[in-house]
Symmetry: C2
Subunit: 330 residues, 2 copies
């Protein structure tokens, strides 16, 4: 392997000068710089960043922990993260946690072992206390999902308002019997979306019926089953709001299998505006999060923390949008 020493010898200068050339540091004559560069090219030298990283005690790498890359919701967010990272000289490592706390902790070792300068959580599995502990020593940002009361920055939308608006849209179309497909988990977004659903009903003088809530796990099948349950037990239901697009798509399929036409017989609203939402048959009315911006903002926060060495706890709320498609109106 070619090292900086080989280059130095070949160019007839010291390793310090090579290092200065590599880092565009001042104090090298144009002539020497040219010569060094040509030697680097000729020897096909690639600096070994393990050395640099050890010395500088940084890696210019950040970790992004996401529950799964199967969920298309994350794709645009990640794009935002990567674009900002690249612009600032950082690399991004995506890591699938499978929503598994062991795997999450395993990947966090990369942070503790200094193989990464910071971490963005898409949906932290660990509890508030553990998160706080990590947040005290390392650069951490939560993205979309976050733990209430954790002293760690986060970027998200206002899930309560977004859900409220989605349900109000259905009510505005004349629906009075609106089912909800939610999830049984500890996500704050879930809680806020349920609250938004209830408030929208109450504000319109529609009594909240606990039997109208079913629970899934964000999967297609779970959405399908939840909808089937709702349609069986409550024939009067004319609309369903699902807290994720994938479950909403499952619900549409269930409607079709029950002989109900969407949107004629049943209106469906999802959440997330995944890339499949406009492709589906019918296209899906849904709440759109500014995914790209969320990603960019999260990465910007993270870089600020890394470079200012801590401090800078910030919480940022970005705007959502209701996108009306053919699953609610013809």
């Amino acid at each position: 392997m070619i090292t900086i020493k080989d280059v130095a010898k070949e160019a007839g200068v010291s390793v310090a000068t090579i290092s200065r050339v590599l880092n565009n540091s001042p104090g090298v004559s144009d002539e020497t710089r040219e010569r060094v560069l040509s030697v680097i090219k000729r020897l096909n030298y690639n600096p070994n960043l393990l050395g640099r990283n050890l010395r500088r005690m940084e890696t210019k790498m950040v970790l992004v922990l996401l529950p799964t890359i199967s969920n298309p919701f994350y794709a645009r967010i990640v794009k935002g993260i990567e674009d900002v990272a690249q612009k600032n000289g950082y690399g991004v490592m995506l890591c699938n946690t499978d929503s598994n706390i062991e795997r999450e902790k395993m990947y966090l070792e990369l942070l503790k072992n200094r193989l990464s300068d910071g971490v963005i959580f898409m949906a932290p599995e660990m509890n508030k206390e553990e998160l706080n502990e990590i947040g005290e020593k390392y650069a951490v940002v939560q993205c979309c999902e976050y733990k209430e009361g954790a002293n760690v920055s986060h970027v998200s939308i206002d899930n309560y308002k977004a859900s409220y608006k989605a349900v109000k849209h259905l009510i505005g179309l004349g629906h009075r019997h609106i089912g909800l497909i939610s999830c049984k988990n500890n996500f704050l977004s879930t809680k806020h979306r349920e609250e938004g659903y209830k408030s929208a009903l109450e504000d319109s003088g529609i009594p909240f019926n606990p039997g109208y809530i079913r629970y899934g796990d964000y999967s297609f099948k779970s959405g399908f089953r939840a909808a089937q349950g709702l349609l069986n037990d409550h024939k009067e239901i004319t609309a369903i709001f699902a807290i994720s697009d994938i479950m909403a798509i499952g619900a549409i399929k269930a409607c079709y299998e029950n002989g109900l036409k969407v949107p004629d017989d049943i209106g469906i609203v999802g959440f997330d505006n995944i890339s499949f939402a406009p492709m589906y048959n019918p296209s899906l009315t849904t709440v759109s999060q500014p995914k790209y911006d969320i990603g960019c903002t999260a990465m910007e926060l993270l870089i600020k923390q890394i470079e200012n060495k801590g401090g800078n706890k910030e919480n940022i709320v970005l705007e959502h949008e209701l996108i009306i498609r053919h699953s609610t109106v013809k």
Copy 2:
């Protein structure tokens, strides 16, 4: 920051002993080992892997370059890669190349700079020569997509046979006018899938009509447009084979917008069996690749290369499967 020296001092032993404990090396008495472990815990010491990696000249990290994480096709493959990696003590960094050769090369720097021990390409953008050059110096495996004649291992299915089978399925259902939605690119899989389509027709005595081929770019929209073109120009067409599920889904949508029912008026077959294929309306007949196994196999090949220091060029072909759903039969 706590270093190995601090632990050594606190435990009253030398750094070598600490290192031995950390690596489960022999030559440490049980008593000392216990004491060291308790000091490590008490001081909350995390070894700085930058030091270890520099010394050992390895990182136990591998790179996975994929065109985009938006394509759900990759999710299962990545899962296979990750599972095998974890079992062998490797971490996985996923990197979006955006099918951009610059980005691809940027991420390859991580390999050249020793921040990664090997790389798995899902769809290399660089040409055969460049790939060969990388393959000579570093551990490299191509996964699913590969360059013909490149002296670099690959794992994939037989795209020719798979495509042949898909088209034969349509012919078996009585279809005689079968459109193809392909892509204009240099992927070998594309070439093979087109060849399979042609051979299936010819073997059944159906003349190949070049007008029956349209080109997309793997996107939903492109599939939609391609199908619309086919349906407009060739009213006799009763089936379409698309070389990707997402384009097939676009094609189904186009059929519906043209008032054609799937599968009654038109049969559609896709390729990949993405997670959305069974969710779609109607569910999509498609070719399934053993994605998880492909991922596992690719990672196994890569580890073999890393640990045997080169050598071991192997090409592995895994079995595909045609999954018949409601886009071709009621």
